[in-house]
């Protein structure tokens, strides 16, 4: 809410103009998922969105390439900057959904703007809900300060429901018991818990602000472990340095959005009363 320092006359005047402008019909931002191909129901839905270490994006990108998934749908919204991503000379939306009959993978080639993250994620998840996914898997990173000293990043799990926590533990994945989650993954988990959609998040120990293909490979191994979908990560590890070089600019811009989302709250010690 507004703090005491905002209650000065200039702010009140500014607020009045702003409210007036909005009431007069400044259009609200909108978002929708547009399907290019018929999308089947009951698939496993993977989300690889820009976050710490770009773990989710790198993992989803590898998954799409390795399993030869094709573009099925894309997210269209004026909450995204006016960007077209060119591939083979043709324009594409930056947030797209790839898939086949058993698997769908959401990927974003640009950071999700902090001020549009709720709208974009809710739109994506509403669409996801309409496809009754068997399981929603969000892949991401968990920033650790000593990442440089870790040779094999450990993967932690979070789930929307208690029975899925049991599944994670049965598969040998340590469950995050307490703490904060910030950003797209937090929205995914809360949404799925509320709508009774089975969802898990796989979080690999990663660098905060450097692209981390090794963490992505570790997360994909656990993804295979849980879903039974085989994904060979050999190429991903071989191309690690190239990926880190290519992903520098997206990482830099993602970091700016993460700062706005107060991502470092994930380091905070939780308060329980």
């Amino acid at each position: 809410m507004l703090s005491h320092r905002d209650h000065n006359p200039l702010n009140i005047i500014f607020f009045t103009f702003l409210v007036e402008g909005k009431l007069k019909g400044t259009p609200l931002k909108t978002a929708k998922v547009i399907e290019r191909e018929p999308v089947s129901s009951g698939a496993i839905m993977v989300h690889g969105l820009p976050d710490v270490g770009l773990v989710g994006v790198i993992a989803a990108s590898h998954l799409i390439a390795e399993l030869n998934m094709v573009e099925m749908a894309y997210l269209d919204s004026d909450a995204l900057p006016p960007v077209a991503v060119l591939h083979e000379g043709l324009p594409h939306a930056p947030m797209r959904i790839f898939g086949d009959t058993n698997l769908l993978a959401t990927i974003s080639e640009m950071p999700i703007p902090a001020n549009g993250v709720q709208l974009l994620m809710n739109t994506l998840l509403d669409w996801g809900l309409s496809k009754s996914p068997k399981l929603t898997v969000s892949i991401g990173g968990m920033p650790v300060q000593n990442r440089q000293d870790i040779d094999a990043p450990k993967v932690f799990g979070v789930a929307s429901h208690a029975n899925l926590l049991e599944l994670l533990e049965k598969k040998g994945i340590t469950v995050l018991r307490e703490g904060y989650m910030v950003g797209p993954q937090a929205i995914i988990l809360r949404y799925c818990a509320e709508k009774n959609m089975p969802a898990i998040a796989l979080l690999a120990q990663s660098f905060y602000n450097y692209p981390d293909p090794e963490a992505a490979a570790a997360a994909l191994k656990e993804f295979s472990n849980i879903t039974g979908i085989k994904v060979d990560v050999t190429k991903l590890l071989e191309k690690g340095e190239e990926i880190r070089l290519r992903a520098r600019d997206v990482m830099k811009r993602t970091q700016q959005e993460l700062t706005k989302m107060k991502k470092t709250q994930e380091y905070d010690l939780p308060l329980y009363v």
């Binding site: 702010n11 702003l18 978002a31 000293d149 880190r244």
Partner: protein, 148 residues
């Protein structure tokens, strides 16, 4: 899917007001001019860097994929600035990155980092592991205020 349109409540308006005010506040501090992360004249790429200041030291890290470990150099430019450079194991061409509207190749990393507190470069410690450079600089201390 149907487009999402919600009726706006006063709370939505207040939230939007706060967001816009925050953006204005952030805009008051001028961000550095955006520039490409590469310099084709000097054949250099700018690596991702970060700084962490603790009570005892400043930790600077830089992500240097493809860097030759023995070519990494850290040089103080002045009392507030460090320069990090490194040669790459091989030249990387724009074409390899899928870009054909620029021409050129890169053979080195180069960046300058502003250090926000006085530091002691004489006792600097460095290491290069997993392609990430870490530089630890002890902080210079002036005087301590005695607590009565």
């Amino acid at each position: 899917m149907a487009e999402k349109r919600k009726r706006r409540s006063i709370f939505d308006l207040i939230r939007e007001y706060e967001e816009e005010l925050e953006e204005l506040r952030q805009g008051l501090v001028l961000p550095p001019l955006e520039h490409p992360s590469w310099n084709i004249r000097e054949c250099t790429l700018e690596p991702l860097c970060s700084i962490f200041v603790s009570s005892k030291e400043v930790i600077v890290t830089a992500d240097l994929p493809y860097a030759k470990p023995d070519s990494v150099k850290i040089e103080p430019i002045n009392n507030e600035r460090l320069e990090i450079t490194a040669e790459m194991k091989r030249k990387v061409r724009f074409e390899e990155l899928g870009i054909i509207h620029h021409e050129g190749e890169f053979s080195t990393f180069s960046c300058q980092v502003n250090i926000p507190v006085p530091f002691d470069v004489e006792h600097m410690k460095t290491r290069f592991k997993h392609g990430v450079l870490e530089v630890r600089l002890p902080r210079k201390r002036g005087y301590r205020i005695p607590v009565e």
